[in-house]
Structures are given as structure tokens and as C-alpha cells.
């Protein structure tokens, strides 16, 4: 494991010079009613990079992830302040239609939530509503490719018409990943995508994340330090709504500057 870890780091080192910033947040605060869930957070999400969010449960990782594709809009009591841009455009600008934003910034949720439709229709839904396919065989190609990337194809290729809700928890999560990938988003937000997966599927998803990095930005929330170290190039550590430390993964795990980060990754708080 150490070996592959080092390998990732070196890849990252080469990539950093050409990386541009895809999304940028400045002074973001999130309130649920009176609860101050995110406190004055600045984050840069680099293009073609995997950024990991780590931190103890309830620290606001999911909340901040939802800031990036405005899913917080769907929560009535939620209020977001500050500035967040995607390629320089303020995503909270009144002119922005969140629907258009979410087509570019896809999301995999913490709990698997397949549609109660067939496996095929689950994956084909995004391409259908965004008009990504010209014809039926095009659509079938997209579905197959997406399911393969999510390491699910071999398990479901014979029962594409079976209900997606009839899959196991881990399969459902991979189906949701395939569904998100099928719309080819520019940024993919993944909220603990591997929490329900066995080590083999986890490795496959991590492989997918690594592959996605060649084209997209990926933001992944994880509770597994090893996973963050394996797949990400940048890591943000959240604690009680604050962004405590945001740096290259290498630095965070080997030489954190904040004592809270160090105690978290060594398992003393959390």
C-alpha cells in the first residue's frame, strides 16, 4: 500500500504545475436555520484532480459538498452565503439555473438512491433528459460504458431490465455512480461512495476515480484515511464546520500544520 501511495503522490507532483482551478469558494457560510454548519470556508477545486474531504462525522463535509452543486437549495431551511465559482462564473448568481449547474456538477449521494426503475433506465435517465444520445444504440453504449466504469457491468449485464432497487446495497451504490458518470459531468461530487462497498468493489471504484481524473475534477468525501491517501491529490480537513487545513494530500498525511489534523488522522479525535 505504501508503494502505490507514493506512486500517486508522484503523479500528482507532475500534474500540479499545469492544473487550473475549476471551482473556487470564498468565505462560504452555511446555516440550517440557526445552526451554523459551515464557517467561512475557502476551497479551490483544481481541474483534473481528486480532492478529498475528511473530518469527523457531522463536521459539514456533506453540507459543503452540496454547496458546490446547489443541492442545498432543495433544503428549505438552508441558507448559503459567500461566493462559489465554476470556471470563474458565480454559481449562486441569480441568472444561474441550478438545473444547468447540476448537469455540469454531478453527485453521488451518501445513501444509495436508485430510481425504482430498471437498471437500464436508471443509467439512461441522465443522458435522456440532457439529450446526450442520438439513437437507441448510442444510449445503450453510454449505459454499458457507464456500468463498466462503475464496475457493475459484469454483474448486471444479463438483467438490465430488472429493477435497480432489487440490487444489493453495494451494487446500488455503484449503480448510482454509473448513473452520475453517464451524464459526463465536469465535476463529480461523491459523498462516501465506498461506505457500503466491499474491498474489491472499493478498489474498482477507486480505479474509476483515478480514471475520471484524466478528464474531470472529482471531490470525494471519505471516512477512510487510507482511501483519501490513495486516491486524492488534495485533502481538506473539516472540523466543526471549519476548514482546518487544506493542502496537498501528501503534506496533510505526513506533515500536517494544525495539531487538530494530526490528532484526527492519527485517530485521536473523530
Amino acid at each position: 500500500m505504501e508503494g502505490s501511495n507514493m506512486n500517486d503522490m508522484s503523479q500528482f507532483d507532475q500534474g500540479v504545475a499545469v492544473d487550473t482551478i475549476k471551482m473556487q469558494s470564498r468565505g462560504v457560510n452555511v446555516f440550517y436555520g440557526d445552526t451554523h454548519a459551515i464557517k467561512d470556508v475557502d476551497v479551490d477545486i483544481a481541474d483534473k484532480t481528486v480532492t478529498a474531504f475528511i473530518g469527523p462525522s457531522g463536521c459539514g463535509k456533506s453540507t459543503f459538498l452540496r454547496v458546490l452543486n446547489r443541492m442545498n437549495d432543495t433544503i428549505d431551511i438552508c441558507r448559503v452565503t459567500g461566493k462559489t465559482t465554476l470556471e470563474g462564473e458565480d454559481i449562486y448568481d441569480p441568472k444561474v439555473d441550478p438545473v444547468q449547474l447540476r448537469a455540469k456538477v454531478g453527485m453521488v449521494f451518501q445513501k444509495p438512491n436508485p430510481f425504482p426503475k430498471s437498471i437500464f433506465d436508471n443509467v439512461a435517465y441522465g443522458p435522456r433528459i440532457h439529450g446526450l444520445s442520438q439513437n437507441k444504440s448510442d444510449l445503450e453504449d453510454i449505459v454499458e460504458k457507464s456500468l463498466r466504469r462503475a464496475a457493475l457491468w459484469d454483474e448486471v449485464k444479463d438483467r438490465l431490465q430488472a429493477p435497480g432497487t432489487g440490487l444489493s446495497g453495494g451494487q446500488q451504490q455503484r449503480l448510482c455512480i454509473a448513473r452520475a458518470v453517464a451524464t459526463s459531468p465536469e465535476v463529480l461530487l461523491m459523498d462516501e461512495p465506498c461506505s457500503a462497498l466491499d474491498p474489491i468493489a472499493t478498489a474498482q471504484v477507486e480505479e474509476l476515480i483515478d480514471e475520471l481524473r484524466t478528464q474531470y475534477s472529482v471531490v470525494i468525501v471519505t471516512h477512510s484515511m487510507q482511501q483519501a491517501a490513495r486516491v486524492s491529490q488534495k485533502t481538506a480537513f473539516f472540523h466543526l464546520g471549519n476548514l482546518v487545513e487544506f493542502d496537498e494530500t501528501d503534506t496533510i498525511f505526513t506533515n500536517p500544520s494544525d495539531p487538530r489534523t494530526e490528532s484526527y488522522i492519527t485517530g485521536r479525535i473523530g
Binding site: 432543495t74 449521494f109 445513501k111 433528459i129 429493477p163 448513473r179
Partner: protein, 451 residues
């Protein structure tokens, strides 16, 4: 395998129930008994209800007819001899009465059946509706005049009641409308196979008849009226109700105003239906000058009554769709509208359908508001609801009646034969409700199969 000793003599044996467990189990079995008692009471009540209704009402579907040749003498029915139906219509049912009476008496004589009764008394055994029945037959087919036809003629309600056990020789002694001699003659005719009680489609197809001829009263007009009103309710209440619920549940901001609307909708569902009748009377008839007792007005009133039911059921089933489904769709870049119509609505559909059918069933059985808008009127003729000839809006013209109103007005009549009619109408109503529930189940199955 193992050298470890097995621990014996547990402090609390699993074989003996301790006091708490016993208490818990007793409470549980008590609760089960209450539950079974409640269910049993319900079933007994249902059985009693059904047996009483079926016992009273099934006979309405059977009616007694007498068959004999009727000589349609041309001199009386078509004095001018040109078989022109318009001129023949000048001969009223009173012109047909003697023809029937004479044919009937002549037939008795020909068959060698002796009776001391005069022709008047013999003819009184036939239904008052019989001349109209023959007249309609003749006017529809003028060529029959001058021939002798083998006709099945409706007999009077008392004679019919005799074959159904409602009228006896004893009760006939005290009855001004029937004599024991008539009953005995009827019995003889029945023995000879000339008079028989057979299945009676006319109960379902004929319109209502006046109080003195229960044997000819049918449900046709009421069924058509109810049907049209159900169509109006379905066409208006379902789309409006579902659209309103979707808006309120998914789009409307949550504020004081929507709270107020919500409370009011819940209250409307509890408003006594007669209030909707008063509203309909004031708004549709007095203010908008719609025709009294037209099916459109009835349908509108029932729509108002059904809307809250549909809205409440629809909102409940929309709310029951897990939010994660909406989030999944929104997260993929679907618009709110797409997430609702592609994912939420199909999942809510079974609930919406159930609510709608319950609302429709309520509306089908509703009497009070219809009485207020004048539907209690006695409708003798099939109304021309679609207004093919007049220039009124469809469903706005002729007055209508509805199944429950028909039940109500039949129970108001003095002749005991109408009790049977009313119970028969209730059976028809129940069959309709049963069919609606079946449709609901079938639709629900279909939608559920598609998850």
C-alpha cells in the same frame, strides 16, 4: 472437542416464564381478542346488512309477466287507416286499455279458464303500464295494427307481489287494490304456464314510473344520470385536484398563506355534503342560471365535494415518496418538473388513484346535495343529455336523477313494492361501487408493477 465444562443451573431458567413475560403475553392475547371481536362485529354487521338488502332487493330483478295474444284492431288504433304514426299517436293509452282487457278476457275464455270476475276486474290484474307498453310497440311499428300479436304483458304490482310472497290471500282481503279472486286466477294462470316471473332487464333500463305502478319502475335514468355526473366529477376533479396537490406540495412556498389554504382544504373535506348543495344552489342555479337538476350542475356540486378528498389523498401520497428520489433526479440535472413527473408522480400514482376512487365512490353515493339542486324531481322520460336537438350546452338541458336520489324517492312512496325497488337500487349502487373498487385495484396493480 472442547474441554470447557458446560455451565449448568442457570439463575433464571428459559423454560419458566417470569412474571413480566407472563404479564406481557397476557396483554398481547387480550389485545388480540379485542381485535378479533372488533373484526367479528364488523363482519356480522356486514352480513346482516347484505342479507337484508339482498333478501329485500333481489326480487326487484324478477318481474311477473302474462302472455296472451293481443288483437290490435285497426278501427280503434288507426281510425283513418293510413298507418301514419303521427296520427296514430292521437290514440292515448286509454284507447289501448279496452283492447288489452278484451284480448285478455277472450284468451281466458278460449283457454277454458272460468272466473266469476267481470272484465274490469280481470283487466285490473294487468299493470297500468301495460297499455303504454303496447302503445309504444305499435307506434314504433305501425304495421302491427290489424294483426294479433303474442305479447308478454306486465302484471300489476300486487299480483307480482303474490308470486314473490309479499301479498297473500289474507292480505288481499284487506287490500283495496287486489282481490283474492284475482290472486287465485293468477295462480291458475301460473300453473298453466301463462304467467311467469322472469329476470327483469327492464328494472335496469326503464325510467322511473309513478307511485301506482311500481312494477314498471326502473333505474335507467338514474344510472345514466349518475354515470354522467361521475364523468363530470372525474374530468374536473382529478386533474384539478392532482394539479393543486402537486403545486401545494412541491412548488408552493411554505408560509402563512399556504398553511391557511392547507387548513381550509382539510376543513372542506369535513364539511357536511348538504352545504355543498346549498352552495351549488346559490352559485350554479341562482347566480349562474344553470338548469335545475341538470347533470352538469350535479357533477359540479359533487366535484366541489370530491376535490378536498382527492387533494388530501394526493398530497399524502406525494409526501410518502422518499425525498432521496427527488434528490437523485435533481442531482442528475433534472428540473423540478421533470423530477416530479418522471419519478415522484408514478410512485404516488397508486395512492392518487385510491384517493380518487374513494372520492368518486363518495360522490356516487351522495344524496343530500343533489336533493337541494332539485334532482329529486320525478323523471319519466330519458333525458336528452347530449342535447342533439336543442341548442343548450351538453349535460345542461334536461333534468336528471341519480341512483341514491332514486333510492331516496322510492323509499318515500307508499306502495310496499317500492321497498323492493329501493333495495334493488341499493344492490345496483353496491355493484357499481364494487366495480369502481375493482378498477382501482386493477389500476393500482398496473402502476405498481412499473414501480
Amino acid at each position: 472437542m472442547t474441554d470447557m465444562p458446560i455451565s449448568t443451573a442457570p439463575a433464571r431458567s428459559l423454560y419458566a416464564q417470569d412474571a413480566r413475560t407472563k404479564k406481557r403475553n397476557r396483554a398481547e392475547s387480550r389485545f388480540r381478542t379485542y381485535g378479533m371481536a372488533a373484526v367479528a362485529t364488523g363482519i356480522i354487521a356486514l352480513i346482516v346488512l347484505l342479507t337484508s338488502i339482498l333478501g329485500n332487493g333481489l326480487s326487484a330483478f324478477r318481474q311477473t309477466y302474462v302472455s296472451f295474444p293481443v288483437e290490435l284492431t285497426a278501427e280503434r288504433l288507426d281510425p283513418d287507416g293510413n298507418r301514419n304514426p303521427e296520427e296514430m299517436a292521437a290514440v292515448t293509452t286509454f284507447g289501448y286499455l279496452p283492447i288489452l282487457a278484451e284480448s285478455f278476457a277472450a284468451h281466458l275464455e278460449a283457454e277454458g279458464i272460468e272466473t266469476e270476475m267481470g272484465i274490469r276486474e280481470i283487466a285490473a290484474m294487468l299493470s297500468e303500464e301495460a297499455p303504454a307498453q303496447v302503445r309504444a310497440m305499435v307506434l314504433a311499428n305501425p304495421e302491427l295494427v290489424g294483426t294479433t300479436i303474442d305479447a308478454q304483458i306486465l302484471v300489476g304490482g300486487r299480483i307480482d307481489g303474490y308470486f314473490k310472497g309479499r301479498v297473500t290471500l289474507d292480505s288481499a282481503e284487506r287490500d283495496r287494490n287486489v282481490t283474492p279472486e284475482q290472486l287465485m286466477l293468477a295462480q291458475e294462470l301460473a300453473d298453466r304456464g301463462m304467467m311467469e316471473t322472469r329476470f327483469n332487464w327492464e328494472f335496469i333500463t326503464w325510467p322511473d314510473a309513478s307511485g301506482s305502478r311500481p312494477e314498471a319502475a326502473g333505474l335507467g335514468v338514474a344510472i345514466i344520470g349518475s354515470l354522467y355526473m361521475m364523468i363530470v366529477v372525474l374530468v374536473l376533479a382529478l386533474p384539478v385536484g392532482v394539479a393543486a396537490s402537486i403545486y401545494l406540495e412541491e412548488f408552493a412556498p411554505k408560509n402563512r398563506l399556504t398553511d391557511l389554504i392547507e387548513v381550509n382544504i382539510s376543513n372542506l373535506a369535513a364539511v357536511p355534503s348538504i352545504v355543498f348543495g346549498i352552495l351549488g344552489l346559490a352559485v350554479f342555479i341562482n347566480f349562474m342560471n344553470f338548469n335545475q337538476s341538470s347533470p352538469l350542475v350535479g357533477g359540479l356540486v359533487l366535484t366541489l365535494m370530491t376535490l378536498p378528498t382527492i387533494i388530501i389523498a394526493t398530497r399524502a401520497s406525494l409526501r410518502a415518496v422518499p425525498p432521496s428520489i427527488r434528490q437523485a433526479a435533481l442531482g442528475l440535472g433534472a428540473s423540478k418538473m421533470q423530477s416530479i413527473f418522471h419519478h415522484v408522480l408514478p410512485l404516488a400514482m397508486p395512492g392518487i388513484l385510491t384517493g380518487t376512487i374513494i372520492g368518486l365512490a363518495q360522490a356516487l353515493g351522495e344524496t343530500a346535495p343533489l336533493l337541494l339542486i332539485g334532482m329529486v324531481a320525478f323523471v319519466r322520460e330519458y333525458p336528452d343529455f347530449l342535447s342533439t336537438h336543442s341548442n343548450t350546452f351538453p349535460l345542461m338541458g334536461d333534468g336528471a336523477t341519480a341512483l341514491p336520489v332514486q333510492v331516496y324517492s322510492w323509499t318515500q312512496r307508499s306502495d310496499p313494492a317500492f321497498v323492493e325497488r329501493a333495495s334493488g337500487a341499493i344492490i345496483v349502487l353496491l355493484v357499481f361501487l364494487l366495480m369502481m373498487n375493482l378498477i382501482a385495484i386493477v389500476l393500482r396493480r398496473r402502476f405498481e408493477r412499473r414501480w
